[in-house]
């Protein structure tokens, strides 16, 4: 009798477990469908969780970052001689550049004074600490510990000291997610200098994003500079992105300036395009003299 009851209980608990499992599976599938259809609720859920977890992640990231920094330092300690030599050579080269830069600056100031130039509004920025990354191969993004309270908006450009890193996609109050340029879904309008040839920089999961829709009358050569174009009014123009490399024939890629491997801090730019042309211009006519009163 007792044994029977035990069996019954077991059967019941198994049924409960099955039901829970089924519910969990259905909930996961619903979440997946919502996520794929870019439901704003999912985005809010994600931003909320990021807000909540920011302190914990920062705290956990500290010792781990310290350890990985230690490993990196040890590596660089091992080849310190070679590095030293390279640095000396760099310093020499930079001395020459500094002279050039100073001359150019003077010249620039003089020309501006002559020109009565209207400079675009200053872009301000807020610097954040990278507190988490997407460790997996599915998305390439990073979580930064500044959010809408600090003036970050969806679409803000993220840069490090050297160049563009990515774009803010998803903002919480205290945290925001930066989609890196190498992610599959990253598309950024750029220009190739010199000549301002327009293109779209498209991430494809590799370390060097591809240049698509190249609008080039003349061929783009390896080594040419790539900057943001500011088309679309999302990014400020003229942020350095990288240099063109040629992987294969007709496969232009960009070697990024920004250093993802050592990314600790990023600047999120608070940029608002100063003018937007909202409507087509009117026909400009010569002023008609008012002569009706005299006649």
């Amino acid at each position: 009798m007792a044994r029977n009851r035990g069996d019954e209980e077991e059967g019941l608990s198994r049924a409960i477990r099955r039901t829970i499992l089924g519910a969990v599976i259905i909930a996961s599938l619903v979440l997946f469908v919502l996520w794929r259809s870019d439901n704003p609720r999912i985005e809010r859920l994600r931003a909320g969780l990021a807000d909540r977890m920011t302190p914990a992640l920062s705290a956990a990231g500290e010792p781990l970052g310290f350890l990985s920094g230690l490993a990196r330092d040890w590596e660089s300690f091992l080849d310190v001689r070679a590095q030293n030599r390279e640095l000396r050579r760099d310093i020499q080269r930079l001395h020459a550049w500094r002279e050039t830069a100073r001359q150019l600056e003077e010249e620039n100031a003089q020309l501006r004074a002559l020109n009565n130039l209207q400079l675009p509004t200053r872009t301000t920025f807020v610097t954040g600490d990278v507190i988490a990354d997407s460790g997996g191969p599915f998305r390439e993004s990073a979580l930064v510990n500044v959010g809408s309270l600090d003036g970050v908006a969806d679409g803000s450009a993220a840069v490090d000291g050297l160049g563009l890193v990515g774009r803010v996609s998803g903002v919480g109050e205290r945290a925001s997610r930066v989609l890196l340029l190498t992610d599959f879904s990253s598309r950024v309008p750029v220009v190739v200098q010199p000549g301002a040839r327009r293109a779209v920089l498209a991430g494809d999961g590799s370390g060097t994003p591809r240049l698509e829709f190249l609008d080039a009358a003349e061929p783009v050569r390896a080594g040419e500079l790539v900057e943001t174009s500011g088309d679309g009014g999302v990014f400020p123009p003229d942020i350095p992105v990288g240099r063109v490399i040629l992987a294969r024939e007709q496969d232009h890629r960009v070697l990024l300036n920004s250093d993802y491997a050592a990314l600790e801090f990023v600047r999120l730019l608070r940029y608002r395009p100063d003018t937007r042309i909202q409507r087509p211009g009117d026909l400009v006519l010569p002023e008609i003299p008012r002569t009706s009163g005299l006649d």
Binding site: L21, V33, L57, D133, P137, F138, R139
Partner: protein, 176 residues
């Protein structure tokens, strides 16, 4: 070990183990999310959460409730930008699969459990890739995915050897 005067002992042990799973899982998520190298060139971090869940499922399957695994997996999906919903689904199914095989697997030497955990990780990666591809999103590169599976497989025995030491050698499998 079982104290006759306090019949609630095994029950309490079970709750402690569930709590242990939750804490270890949270720790695994924060470690996975820690920014140690970004971008496509970086080494993919191993699926630590799966290693923890697999270890628990093979050690104390009664202490791996579906809802806890679901909560952990969902949290990981949301924080680390995995395919939301799909990642957690695959994790839950893998945990259930390992739990159902536990009576057989727990008697095998570490090499055999290692191989089956590695095979499970591979199956999970394949399912994720397929799910993403079927939903018409851009699936990740197979090389990166394979690297992640290798990393996961490499980390599992370390976790399986370290955790029992850290937990003070809880030898007897619970609820087997």
């Amino acid at each position: 070990m079982v104290d006759a005067a306090r019949p609630s002992r095994p029950e309490r042990g079970l709750w402690l183990r569930i709590l242990g799973l939750a804490v270890a899982g949270l720790l695994a998520i924060t470690v996975e999310a820690a920014p140690l190298g970004l971008g496509a060139e970086a080494y993919p971090s191993p699926d630590l959460l799966f290693c923890i869940v697999a270890f628990w499922a093979l050690r104390a399957p009664a202490a791996v409730p579906v809802l806890v695994v679901f909560a952990l997996g969902l949290m990981r999906d949301l924080l680390t930008d995995q395919p939301i919903g799909l990642g957690v689904l695959v994790l839950v199914l893998a945990a259930e699969m390992l739990k159902s095989r536990q009576p057989v697997l727990s008697r095998q030497p570490l090499a055999v459990t290692w191989a089956s955990v590695g095979a499970t990780a591979l199956a999970m990666a394949a399912a994720l890739w397929l799910g993403v591809a079927l939903s018409l999103a851009e699936p990740p590169g197979l090389a990166a995915l394979a690297l992640q599976v290798l990393a996961t497989a490499a980390v599992y025995p370390v976790i399986a050897l370290i955790l029992p030491l850290a937990l003070g050698r809880v030898r007897r499998p619970l609820g087997a």
